[in-house]
């Protein structure tokens, strides 16, 4: 439909751009023999115990709604589970179970953002933050993190972008797409900035369980931060349960209550079957998570060292299951590189710019694929780099 003719669509829908990965997805879908390093979910299946609990709940006919906030026994286990990150939340008032962490992000935006409000969104980052700010009527303010800092968010980055005037700050570490993590010291600066400028922090910690060199630290544990932070986490990445759509939000009772009010009208409750799987996951699947983490860690070391050997500068990403190498010398344009690579060598990866301007010249490489695929992909990339 052309501009000027009457569209049945809302302005908001018309102005929502298609996700930047869509073009590559379509390219990849029409090719055979693709090796994909573009997948944003684990290649493992959910641990058997969790799947079995879901099946068992179905056999017993447990298919009704749950409480809006999620099953009480699940919330209690979540409260217990997050103590490993020194987080302490009250299961009745400060925890909301959602349909994936994605729903939690959307709810938080809608509960906190008024038209005209500004949400600072560090980039490169997951593609949903900006659009959910827009849907809530707010303005997203991109804050570029920098390659020379290994994409850690700094006080200066925030200052330079003008985030002092923002109302809310999104934080996403371990980070998709860079694999970057933040230490307590690094988070301390950000917390200081948030306190000085009275920002609410939305901290997406969905990859918290996938840290390889050190323990995850949540910004909510820093002084004065708990009351101004909403933490998102979930079962998708750690427990390989992406398709079950289950996540949760932790935060001050007032904010969680507001999110729950929106949730009760739009979602009612998170998927019941998934909640049963999640209870079991928290109960008995630590070993399975640890096994996956170790396997990811080997792959991580492998891909980082391969990219650096190929002259594709790749910093040591210490979290999630992504690395973020630079395009090889002679290639400035990540999108051109990714497109030539998929056409010539049938290797799919995602251009860094899809995740924001700061990602220009970089590529998101997911190592959520078996070692044999990773080796094959890297061999193909090597032959591409050598012949171009």
């Amino acid at each position: 439909m052309t501009e000027g003719t009457h569209s049945p669509l809302s302005k908001r829908a018309r102005e929502t751009p298609p996700s930047g990965i869509r073009r590559f997805f379509e390219l990849a879908e029409e090719m055979d023999d693709i090796v994909s390093l573009g997948v944003g979910e684990p290649d493992f299946s959910a641990p058997w115990a969790a799947r079995s609990a879901a099946i068992d709940s179905l056999e017993r006919g447990r298919t009704s709604y749950t409480a809006n906030r999620g099953r009480k026994d699940l919330r209690e286990r979540i409260a217990e589970h997050v103590t490993r990150y020194d987080l302490s939340y009250e299961s009745d008032e400060e925890i909301l179970v959602t349909a994936g962490a994605s729903e939690a992000v959307d709810l938080a935006m809608r509960a906190l953002v008024d038209p005209g409000d500004t949400v600072a969104v560090p980039q490169p980052s997951y593609i949903s933050y900006g659009p959910t700010v827009t849907f809530a009527g707010g303005e997203a303010l991109p804050v570029q993190t920098r390659a020379e800092n290994d994409f850690v968010l700094t006080y200066e980055d925030l200052e330079r972008a003008g985030a002092a005037d923002a109302d809310t700050l999104v934080l996403c570490y371990p980070n998709n797409p860079t694999g970057a993590v933040m230490t307590r010291e690094e988070l301390t600066e950000v917390a200081e900035f948030a306190r000085e400028h009275d920002l609410i922090v939305l901290s997406d910690e969905i990859y918290a369980a996938l840290r390889y060199e050190d323990e995850h630290v949540s910004i909510a544990t820093l002084p004065g931060m708990r009351e101004r932070t909403v933490v998102f986490n979930g079962f998708s990445k750690a427990y390989a349960m992406t398709g079950m759509r289950l996540g949760y939000a932790l935060g001050p009772a007032e904010i969680i209550d507001a999110m729950n009010r929106i949730h009760q009208y739009t979602m009612l409750s998170a998927p019941t079957t998934a909640q049963f799987a999640a209870i079991e996951a928290l109960e008995s699947c630590d070993d399975a998570v640890e096994e996956m983490r170790q396997e990811f860690d080997r792959r991580r070391k492998f891909v980082i060292s391969r990219f650096n050997e190929l002259g594709m500068d790749c910093f040591e990403a210490k979290g999630a299951f992504y690395v973020f190498p630079k395009c090889p010398p002679g290639w400035e344009d990540d999108e051109a590189f990714a497109e030539a690579l998929i056409r010539e060598k049938r290797v799919a990866l995602v251009p860094g710019r899809v995740f924001g301007e700061g990602g220009n010249g970089h590529l998101r490489v997911s190592y959520a694929s078996g070692m044999s695929e990773l080796k094959e992909a890297l061999n193909r990339i090597e032959s591409f780099v050598e012949s171009n």
């Binding site: 997805f25 990849a28 693709i34 994909s36 573009g38 979910e41 949903s128 998709n176 080997r298």
Partner: protein, 162 residues
């Protein structure tokens, strides 16, 4: 995990991968991997490297049987002596002392059922300490040393996702 132990896991999953690839996964250099492999071999932790073969795809007759063996010990002869004697036969591919209703579990391989049963009756059964043999011929192998022989599940994930 200790590098040497992790190296063992990597070799168990794929013993043919290159030293360089192993080094990359362990975050050490290739010379360190070589040294660790030497250690594992000289300590006797690694006793060999073999292919996992699906004989149905090889196009030649290959028969395998699992043989239960009962033995009677006397003052001069223990399990060790009997095992040493049985292990010498090239037809025997594995030999284990086990708990339960019989003593030894023996894998025997040959070109035909006739070969295998002949071997059991003419070489194993006559051993003085052997009191009974029960031969189970393998009909189909579904999984061997951790490798599933059926079709794997397709990766049904989207090829690119955020």
């Amino acid at each position: 995990m200790e590098a040497k132990r992790e190296l063992l896991d990597l070799l168990l999953s794929d013993a043919r991968q290159s030293t360089d690839d192993i080094a990359r996964q362990l975050g050490v250099d290739a010379a360190t991997v070589e040294a660790l492999v030497d250690e594992l071999e000289s300590e006797g932790a690694i006793r060999g490297y073999q292919a996992v073969v699906d004989w149905d795809s090889v196009g030649e007759e290959h028969v395998r049987a699992e043989v239960e063996l009962n033995v009677e010990l006397d003052r001069e002869t223990g399990y060790e002596e009997i095992a040493r004697r049985i292990a010498k036969f090239p037809e025997v591919s594995s030999l284990r002392l086990i708990s339960g209703s019989y003593d030894f579990a023996v894998d025997v391989e040959g070109e035909s059922m006739h070969d295998v049963s002949n071997f059991v009756s003419e070489q194993i059964a006559p051993i003085p300490e052997v009191t009974q043999t029960v031969t189970h011929f393998v009909m189909t192998t579904y999984k061997e040393r951790g490798v599933y022989f059926g079709d794997g599940d397709d990766d049904d994930r989207l090829s690119i996702s955020p």
